[in-house]
């Protein structure tokens, strides 16, 4: 282990002792903690609590000056912090999880400066190596980087900084995930590593994933919240690892405190960051007057770290470190000066020279990028990462092309190397370039950038102008070295500059405009900027355009600001964030300020598309007003409003304003379909006037029309749930009843007796008189009556057959109720609202419910008793809720034929035929010609009965069923209300209420199914349509949390399917998709289904395949499939097809065995790759056409 530079600290002690003697009178004598008691406490308790008390009781100044006296020997520091240079991760945080709070910002700063000065020799060496590492990274010289890190580890042992640097190295390899794992394991495998260090390590790896920062920050807050001192620990971890925003002072203090417990390297890195944060926030001024200036001057002398330069300069501390003697300094000066003189070729060359020597000079790289655009520099000698940054900076500076792409790439680089100084500066520079131009100079933002820049130039004055005295050595030096650049900065900050220096007109106007805005003279700013924005298009700097909007706002010209903002967006739309959209729309908050111009709705449209939807109501009313004021019902009318509405404005209006989102909640449209129609008209018009983008609009039209068609067709199919296939039934009955019907008809038309017997009896009657004649007439009546009963029996039998087929046949009411209602659809529809809110879970095979982990995890704040009660209440709710669904499908939505043997006491479809009714049918028979009419007549009667039943179904659903569902909700609600900790269950109560409202809607939807559907004629359709409809039905019924299956359909081209087959095909595909979800072994969202369809010469083929989860045991499935295969050959399969549960393939088989098809074949099984497939093959019959 390295010896701490204790010899050097003798000087420190002397210097600080001198400081003590000079300030003896001012120094407050610590009341309760003396040097002796501090040392005793360190010896007794390991130092943590003593250090805490010291930071609490002593002033920062006292801590700093007393430090050499408090710490007579290095081992005392180790007692307080652990080893300065730990050899292994386990040596960090060796005191366990830090529970003591940090001291004040000033106290932590004082302690950290003193401690670092005490070990200055090692830290100075570290700083040198560290800079070498920074430069090796931007040079993409990973080999050198590796070597430097190894040297740092050799000299200074482990540090969290080193771990993060190694993460950077790991990312450069081909398999970063693996490298992370190896690196993480190295650290985590150290059995003695503190859990806190392990946590930091694991979070560091997570942060690296794209877009993970916000989620990681949330996770840190959640995880650490419950720990003692958790908020401080969370602030520290977020500030250190996630680096979101500038931390608060207490967070900075925490960072210093906890970094000190990691290693000395981390303590020093934390100190430099804290100083930077402090000056950027302007928080150091209050401290600067006391110990800080002296201590920083001394620190910069002991540790000549260039990163301290902006800190010294901002605090007005003169120090030798401020003199930049580097080889690149001259080239840098020449580059800046050439740029100020608008000599971009020279600026470009000299900036490149500077960067080749000092590639971490990011500000110079920005200058190079800007100069390069104007000088049209083609080829540079920069290393690869620097070149990538240069190119992206060029795109971002030019504000042309893929500006956001370039910014995203730069930010990704900055995050990737976020422990490096240049990366932090790069991030802030990029954010500044993306930021809104809402003032001439943004001081706080500029200070943050300046505080990270060790290469001081006059730009430093943009952030710290007031602090940097022009007569100070540094001020004078900068003025002497950078006269033109200083003049430019003078112009921006004071509106005047050295008269001997002339800047270009463009620069002069631009800088003067900034000054005018900064100093509140909006009219002058408008005057300058108006000249700049009248330059030819392409030469206008979007920043000037954006500044002009601000200037108009400042001068109270709202209409002009709105117009300029829209103009700016239309001409420089690549970087709209430059424009003060938020401010303009805020000024337009009152409708009384609105003009009649198209710019008002456009302004809100731009805001809505780029910022957020907070101004959506404004957009809607602005749209409505503009449309009404100008009588616009059709998009083409807009072109008549020229010149106020230029083509660019019309295109933007149609794209950003006249959209479905805007059209909703206006008085102009009354339904979703009206809105969709209007949008299709808008897209059609856009395709005409914006030809360059017509494919986009045509695609939108296609997509909308398709979605509309699917939605319409789905709605039609959903309204056909109560269905009877009359054609199929007639076909079946015709062949089955023709003989019986003929016999019955013959008996009815020929009289009651045999014709020969009738003739004989009539002859006899004619010849008789008196009593004999009466006897004979009575005898004839007897025979007539007997025949009448026989006829009635015949009729009853015929009607019974028809009724059976209508109600229970393969294509009768029960079959369709089973396929379209009871088999999954009803359950899924009614279960979805409660499943989406996770109030119910799926069932296991034994019927028990899967544990409701979703809510149990969220109810962790509850006591065990309350949690158990709610767990039980949820399970009871699931049982009750599913019980109601089961009752609907198993008992209520059943068919009961009175007098039949089947017991169905609660069935709502009840059918009874009286003798009187049969007589009435019989009496109608005389006017009925053939069997088809007879069957039709009987079926009409059955439909009439069905209509009555349907009324009953709707009534029961709206009454008893609704009440049963609501009772289940009520019981759950009461259980939740009984809970003591209402806050803990509030989320669950909200879910319950949402579900309850949704269940009401679903019940109304289900109730609407129960209307007679006799629509036999549908338009012919593309063979892919039933697949789309089935997918749409799945989307409407599957619970959200499971996701939606991926269905890829390859339909056939050209030929259409007959409209009458649509519903059956939808049933078939829906059943297949449900089967796939149920049996694939994946969740719904993980299920992948492929469909290929063919239709050629009336032969329809379809193959549906789905992957099965690897490792799924298919042996049991194979046995089941074999049983099904055998069952389909059994004539009793029709009965099976009308039951629910495991009958999907039976239903499909039944569907393709309707009279619409012939030669039906159904194959199914597993392919070699264990995919499950179902093949359908059939020929379309004339009946379907």
């Amino acid at each position: 282990m390295q010896q701490c530079g204790w010899i050097d600290n003798e000087a420190l002690r002397q210097e600080q002792g001198h400081f003590v003697s000079r300030n003896r009178k001012r120094a407050r004598k610590p009341a309760s903690l003396t040097r002796t008691s501090f040392i005793e406490s360190v010896l007794r308790s390991g130092g943590q609590s003593a250090l805490g008390a010291l930071k609490e009781q002593w002033s920062a100044e006292e801590i700093y000056r007393q430090f050499p006296h408090l710490i007579p020997d290095r081992k005392w520091l180790d007692q307080v912090h652990g080893p300065a240079f730990p050899r292994k991760p386990g040596d960090m945080f060796s005191f366990g999880l830090p529970s003591s709070p940090s001291g004040s910002f000033a106290a932590e700063l004082a302690w950290a400066i003193a401690r670092c000065r005490a070990c200055a020799r090692e830290l100075a060496e570290f700083v040198e190596l560290r800079l070498e590492y920074e430069r090796s990274v931007i040079r993409s010289d990973w080999k050198t980087g590796e070597a430097v890190l190894a040297e740092i580890e050799r000299q200074f042992g482990q540090s969290f900084w080193l771990f993060q640097a190694k993460l950077i190295q790991a990312r450069t390899g081909g398999d970063p995930d693996n490298a992370y794992a190896v690196l993480g394991n190295q650290w985590l495998s150290d059995g003695f590593a503190s859990p806190w260090v392990q946590y930091l390590v694991s979070v560091s790896v997570q942060v690296d994933r794209p877009g993970a920062r916000t989620a990681v920050a949330d996770s840190i807050r959640r995880v650490l919240r419950s720990l003692p001192n958790g908020n401080a620990l969370a602030s520290y971890a977020i500030a250190k690892l996630v680096e979101q925003g500038v931390p608060s002072l207490p967070a900075i203090a925490s960072t210093l405190h906890y970094d000190g417990l990691l290693s000395l390297v981390d303590q020093y890195e934390g100190l430099v960051a804290a100083l930077g944060w402090g000056i950027a926030r302007g928080e150091m001024e209050a401290l600067a007057g006391t110990f800080l200036r002296d201590s920083l001057r001394a620190l910069s002398r002991d540790i000549p770290d260039a990163r301290l330069r902006p800190i010294l300069a901002a605090l007005g501390v003169d120090a030798p470190l401020l003199v930049d003697t580097s080889v690149a300094a001259t080239a840098r000066v020449q580059a800046y000066e050439a740029y100020a003189k608008s000599d971009y070729v020279t600026a470009s060359k000299r900036a490149e020279d500077a960067i080749l020597d000092e590639p971490d000079d990011i500000a110079c790289l920005v200058l190079l990028a800007r100069a390069g655009i104007r000088a049209e520099t083609k080829k540079l000698l920069l290393p690869s990462l620097a070149t990538k940054i240069y190119e992206s900076l060029g795109t971002l500076s030019s504000l042309r092309g893929e500006v956001y792409g370039a910014a995203t790439e730069l930010l990704a680089i900055a995050h990737r190397f976020s422990i490096l100084r240049w990366a932090k500066q790069l991030e802030l520079l990029v954010l500044q370039m993306l930021a809104t131009e809402d003032a001439g100079v943004n001081r706080p933002r500029q200070r943050s950038i300046n505080s990270l820049d060790p290469y001081l130039t006059p730009l430093f004055r943009l952030g710290f102008g007031a602090a940097l005295d022009r007569d100070s050595p540094l001020g004078m030096r900068l003025l002497a070295e950078f006269p033109f650049t200083s003049a430019a900065i003078d112009l921006i900050l004071t509106g005047a500059c050295n008269g001997a220096i002339t800047l270009s007109t463009r620069k002069h106007l631009s800088y003067m405009a900034r000054y005018s805005l900064f100093s509140g003279d909006a009219e002058s700013a408008i005057s300058c900027l108006s000249q700049l924005v009248t330059l030819p298009k392409g030469e206008v700097d979007p920043r000037s355009s954006a500044l002009l909007v601000t200037a108009f706002l400042e001068s109270g010209q709202l209409d002009a600001a709105t117009r300029q903002c829209v103009d700016g967006y239309l001409s420089c739309g690549e970087l709209p964030s430059l424009f003060p959209l938020v401010r303009v729309t805020a000024m337009l908050d009152d409708t009384g300020t609105w003009s009649d111009s198209i710019d008002v709705p456009l302004m809100f449209g731009i805001y809505n598309s780029l910022v957020d939807n907070g101004r959506l109501p404004h957009l809607r009313i602005a749209f409505e007003r503009f449309q009404e004021a100008n009588g616009i019902a059709d998009p083409a009318r807009l072109s008549e409003l020229s010149p106020a509405c230029s083509k660019e404005r019309i295109v933007a209006y149609l794209n950003l304003v006249w959209t479905p989102e805007t059209m909703r909640q206006t008085l102009l449209y009354r339904s979703t379909s009206e809105i969709e129609d209007a949008r299709v008209r808008v897209c059609s018009y856009l395709a005409k006037i914006d030809v360059a983008n017509d494919s986009r609009y045509l695609e939108e039209i296609r997509e909308r029309v398709k979605r509309r068609e699917i939605s319409k067709a789905t709605s039609l199919v959903e309204q056909s749930k109560v269905y009877v296939d009359v054609a199929a039934i007639k076909k079946t009955l015709r062949s089955k009843l023709s003989g019986a019907y003929a016999r019955y008809k013959a008996s009815a038309s020929g009289g009651d007796l045999d014709p020969a017997m009738t003739e004989l009896l009539e002859e006899l009657v004619k010849g008789l008189a008196g009593r004999d004649r009466e006897v004979l007439v009575v005898a004839k009546s007897f025979f007539d009556g007997k025949a009448s009963v026989e006829r009635l029996k015949q009729l009853a039998s015929l009607y019974s057959d028809i009724s059976d087929e209508f109600l229970l046949g393969s294509h009768g009411l029960n079959a369709y109720l089973s396929t379209r209602v009871r088999h999954g659809t009803l359950s899924n529809t009614l279960r979805k609202p409660v499943a989406d809110e996770r109030l119910v879970t799926q069932r296991n095979e034994d019927g028990s419910y899967i544990a409701n982990t979703f809510w149990i995890e969220r109810l962790s704040a509850l006591s065990e008793t309350d949690a158990t009660r709610i767990r039980n209440a949820l399970e009871e709710f699931a049982i009750s809720y599913d019980g109601v669904i089961n009752r609907i499908k198993d008992e209520l939505l059943q068919i009961k034929v009175v007098d039949s043997t089947k017991e169905m006491p609660a069935a709502l479809f009840t059918y009874h035929t009286s003798s009187r009714e049969l007589e009435a049918i019989g009496s109608r028979l005389e006017s009925i010609e053939g069997i088809d009419d007879f069957i039709g007549h009987c079926m009409d009667r059955l439909w009439e009965k069905t209509d009555v039943n349907l009324i009953a179904v709707r009534s029961v659903l709206a009454g008893d069923v609704r009440a049963m569902f609501m009772a289940a909700f009520q019981r759950l609600d009461s259980s939740l209300a009984a809970n003591d900790n209402r806050h803990a269950v509030s989320e669950l109560r909200n879910a319950l209420n949402r579900a309850r409202t949704a269940v009401h809607r679903r019940l109304e939807e289900v109730s609407a199914w129960f209307n007679r559907s006799e629509v036999y004629d549908r338009s012919d359709y593309s063979p892919g349509l039933p697949v789309d409809i089935a997918v749409n039905i799945l989307e409407k019924t599957l619970p959200q949390d499971g996701g939606q299956p991926s269905v890829v359909c390859t339909p056939t081209d050209g030929a259409l399917m007959p409209g009458r087959t649509l519903d059956g095909m939808v049933d078939a595909f829906h059943a297949l998709f449900e089967n796939a979800i149920q049996h694939s072994g994946f969740t719904a969202g993980g299920t992948r289904i492929g469909v290929s369809i063919g239709l050629q010469n009336k032969r329809f083929t379809a193959k549906v395949t789905n992957e099965t989860r690897p490792g799924k045991d298919i042996e049991a499935d194979l046995r089941k499939l074999e049983n099904i295969r055998a069952g389909l050959k059994d004539p009793r399969f029709r009965k099976r097809a009308q039951s629910e549960g495991g009958s999907g393939l039976h239903k499909i088989w039944q569907t393709i065995n309707s009279p619409f098809y012939s030669n039906a074949r159904l194959e199914f099984g597993f392919s070699d790759d264990q995919s499950f497939f179902v093949s359908i093959d059939c020929v379309l019959e004339e009946a379907s056409l």
Binding site: T591, R664, L667
Partner: protein, 151 residues
């Protein structure tokens, strides 16, 4: 007094409607089942006989639920707030009581929501009533606020 109840939940609308008509028999109550219906009712009434009070739900569908609009179009979490904004922009100053059965909406607690409504719509926003199917407390809260309008 003319009262408009903007509420899409069947049961809640029935219970509130029943309570209002029983407690304030002289009031006339109309019900709107969506933002669209409510907006049209408010705009239409504004021209002739404006409503004196709006009882407003926060979460509603855009259009009335029907066979042709099965879900009622898009449901917006803060549809009630959007309606209030529209009223403000259209200068419809009907005193409004928000009646919600949620403890919070989209991670916004009721107290925060109420404070926002008070800040954004001080001229019309009277207060917020937490409606619960399981409890009766909402009735008194609603009555008190409604009586404040009468006074």
């Amino acid at each position: 007094m003319r009262v408009l109840l903007a509420e899409d939940d069947y049961e809640k609308a029935n219970r509130i409607g029943e309570y209002v008509t029983n407690t304030f028999p002289l009031h006339s109550l109309e019900t709107a089942r969506s933002v669209d219906s409510a907006l049209r009712s408010l705009v239409a009434a504004q021209a002739s006989s404006p409503f004196d009070l709006l009882l407003l739900d926060m979460t509603m569908p855009t259009f009335d639920v029907s066979t042709s609009e099965p879900g009622g179009g898009e449901t917006e979490n803060f549809a009630g707030k959007q309606l209030l904004t529209q009223m403000k922009l259209r200068r419809i100053g009907v005193p409004t009581i928000v009646v919600t059965m949620y403890d919070g909406i989209a991670d916004v607690s009721l107290s925060v929501l109420s404070a926002e409504l008070k800040r954004d719509f001080p001229a019309v926003y009277l207060g917020l009533v937490y409606y619960s199917q399981a409890q009766e407390g909402w009735k008194n809260a609603l009555k008190t606020l409604m009586e404040s309008v009468e006074q």
